[in-house]
């Protein structure tokens, strides 16, 4: 390529790509959440029982005042791969909840919860939730960790395919809960709203929900906003993907099987084809498998159109 052409091409590239880079820089103004080294990331990831139990405590004492978790049955807290509460603990816990029901004569009643019940919602319906929270209904938390995330632009999304980075949701939630700050000068935050660097648009309706020392942990985990945020984000990931541990465990078995099986298939295929591969002709040097049989002649008289030659 001549020098002039190279220069022209480079100039063209800069003209066309330059503005795109500027657009990307604008998008990046909202910082990407820091990547937390989650126990459940990667091919052998498992939930940390202690972390999920602490996260559940935060959900129960703080989040549940405004957020529903309606898709989860209370019994799932005892399911394998999750927070690992015993069935007795879950039964006791369920009985603390008041569940709306009807009695034998059809009168509306409130009864003690059972493990099979779903977590009761803090508000009877969406308009009530909206009215009680400054015009914005707090979202249901059942799938929240999979319904949130942040954009991974080129080339990062390509690398994610190989590194199995799938934790945009919990990373975003953990960052958001620690992302409250005073608005920078000139940034106008409406009354009843808060500044949060990680939210697109940066104005959030939820007041800062967590404060240091607010929740008393039973273990010796630090009682800081950072720790609380991580724990509740991990709990929400479990709530959104309760079978993640089983999925990754079975995945390893499936991958191992498939790789061995594929290797064996390759050897089988190579052996069968060795007869055809013999460069001197069509005879097999090994004399095994069906590949050593003389290869039937092409049955058609016409080179391109094959006749259906199966009339007896």
């Amino acid at each position: 390529m001549s020098r002039a052409r190279t220069v022209a091409l480079a100039a063209l590239t800069v003209t066309l790509i330059g503005p795109a880079a500027a657009v990307l820089a604008d998008e990046r103004e909202a910082p990407s959440p820091p990547q937390v080294p989650w126990s459940f990331s990667g091919p052998f990831g498992k939930y940390d029982r202690g972390e999920l139990q602490r996260g559940f405590k935060i959900y129960k004492e703080v989040c549940a005042n405004c957020h529903s978790l309606e898709l989860l049955a209370i019994r799932t807290l005892a399911e394998p791969g999750g927070p690992g509460f015993s069935m007795a603990q879950v039964t006791a816990l369920a009985s603390e909840y008041r569940i709306k029901d009807v009695n034998d004569t059809g009168e509306p009643i409130e009864r003690a919860g059972r493990p099979a019940d779903h977590f009761p919602s803090p508000f009877p319906n969406e308009p009530a939730a909206r009215a009680a929270n400054g015009g914005v209904a707090p979202p249901d938390m059942s799938t929240l960790a999979k319904a949130r995330g942040y954009s991974r632009d080129f080339p990062w999304f390509v690398f994610d395919m190989f590194t199995q980075y799938q934790e945009q949701g919990p990373d975003y939630i953990a960052a958001l809960l620690t992302g409250y700050a005073d608005a920078p000068k000139g940034f106008n935050v409406p009354a009843g709203r808060y500044y949060n660097a990680y939210l697109p648009g940066r104005v959030i309706a939820m007041a800062p929900p967590l404060h240091a020392g607010q929740i008393i942990y039973d273990d010796d985990a630090p009682q800081t906003v950072g720790q609380y945020s991580k724990d509740v984000a991990a709990f929400l990931m479990w709530a959104a993907e309760p079978h993640l541990v089983a999925r990754k465990r079975i995945g390893f078995q499936v991958m191992t099987f498939l790789i061995v099986f594929t290797g064996l298939l390759y050897l089988t295929k190579r052996r069968a084809w060795s007869a055809v591969l013999d460069p001197r002709g069509l005879k097999s040097s090994r004399g095994v498998l069906r590949g050593d049989r003389p290869i039937p002649r092409y049955r058609s008289s016409s080179p391109s159109i094959r006749s259906t030659a199966n009339t007896p």
Binding site: V23, L72, M161, R247, V276
Partner: protein, 417 residues
């Protein structure tokens, strides 16, 4: 008449087992399988790009089987659809596996079909005498596009709902009757419960139509025989190997490799190809910040948005798929394989890059530099079919073709077989 079948058929099929003999007298299915999938001659130089037919058959089977089981647990109602899918994910035994196999299976199906189509394009497999094989394939692809879209809507998340709204609204661009057609498609005056119900019904129906057209596709293929990397027709017996065990084993091995990729997505990154917003239940009163289709529609979405006029955009969108049906006659070159068409090969790879580029642009807002690039690549996409292929065949200098496919095969290093 019945006695004749005790004699071997012309290609040597003679059932030995009494049960098979019994069957053969009444329904000669064994003879058919023997003729089409055992002794059927396949070109000996097929490479691994030719295993995608088998991969696609398997994916269609997996989608139908997982889909039928998922339908046993799914409720096509606007209030319950999202919840029933979460019920599958949480409470149905291995429901998460079925659901991720099905959702990622759709993506794998499209990966395989795009490889299959690009292979066909590169080696000129659509040319005489395989025009009908190609056209039936385009029909299968069209059915796949519709089926995939309908299935995505069934999740009834935010992206499902808004994708349904945007795509059905495309028909409103049709002059005079457009709005009436949209109302008819919706079964009401907005995307609602009737829409979800009919989408579920059609999502169950269309895969069986895909099976039907695929059978015709393979039938037509077996009449004319497969193309091959050299792109020249078979000339002598030693050009071919019998389907079994050669093509069979190669197909099974290729399929197993593909399954590793599939399993990687299902078990480790099952939501990689999805949009987070589709884990938010559909809400007609909240429009998402961005509405993007599934990845396999992104190039067409970019084409749609690159044209400022709605009607022309819709015409370009449908035209970009419809043009495929005319490909056998748009390509004027008599040489099939890009191996012997160096100039075509360059345009081909540029076309692949344009398709990937359009896919990336489909995720970007249609303004500024993105819009300019969308227009450039849309122009190239259409020009490749309407301008490059017709003209190139008349002027390009092709490399000399080998006399038969045995010639390059036997002379060259055989390891690529």
């Amino acid at each position: 008449m019945l006695q004749t079948v005790t004699k071997p058929t012309a290609d040597g099929y003679q059932p030995r087992h009494p049960a098979l003999r019994w069957l053969e007298k009444r329904l000669p299915i064994g003879r058919f399988i023997h003729a089409e999938f055992v002794v059927y001659p396949t070109p000996r130089n097929l490479n691994y790009w030719w295993t995608f037919g088998a991969i696609l058959s398997l994916m269609l089977g997996i989608q139908i089987v997982t889909g039928i089981i998922l339908a046993m647990h799914y409720t096509p109602h606007t209030d319950l659809a999202f919840k029933s899918i979460e019920g599958i994910m949480r409470d149905v035994n291995y429901g998460w596996l079925l659901r991720y196999l099905h959702s990622n299976g759709a993506s794998m199906f499209f990966i395989a079909v795009y490889v299959h189509m690009f292979r066909s394009l590169y080696y000129g497999s659509y040319k005489e005498p395989r025009e009908l094989v190609w056209i039936l394939g385009v029909i299968v692809y069209l059915l796949m596009v519709v089926t995939g879209f309908l299935g995505y809507v069934l999740v009834w998340g935010q992206m499902s709902f808004w994708a349904a709204t945007v795509i059905t609204n495309l028909f409103s661009a049709i002059p005079i009757v457009g709005d009436a057609i949209v109302t008819w498609l919706w079964g009401g005056y907005a995307v609602g419960n009737p829409t979800l119900n009919r989408f579920f019904s059609l999502h169950y129906l269309l895969p069986f139509m895909i099976v039907g057209v695929s059978v015709l596709h393979v039938w037509a293929l077996h009449v004319v025989g497969q193309n091959n990397p050299a792109g020249i027709e078979l000339q002598e017996g030693k050009d071919t190997v019998p389907f079994t065990p050669y093509a069979t084993l190669k197909d099974i091995f290729g399929t197993a490799c593909f399954l590793i990729l599939y399993a990687w997505f299902v078990f480790y990154i099952p939501n990689y190809l999805g949009h987070p917003d589709n884990y938010i239940p559909a809400n007609p009163s909240v429009t998402p910040a961005e509405i993007v289709p599934e990845w396999y529609y992104l190039p067409f979405y970019a084409i749609l948005r690159s044209i400022p006029n709605k009607l022309l955009g819709v015409i370009a969108l449908f035209g970009s798929i419809a043009v495929l049906a005319f490909l056998p006659w748009l390509d004027t070159s008599r040489v099939k394989s890009a191996r012997y068409r160096p100039l075509f090969a360059k345009f081909f790879w540029l076309f692949v890059v344009a398709c990937i580029g359009l896919g990336w642009l489909g995720t970007k807002p249609p303004d500024g530099i993105y819009l300019i690039w969308s227009r450039v690549l849309t122009f190239y996409y259409l020009a490749f079919f309407l301008l490059v292929l017709p003209v190139l065949g008349l002027f390009e200098t092709t490399r000399p073709l080998p006399k038969s496919i045995s010639e390059p095969v036997l002379a060259s290093d055989p390891k690529w077989l």
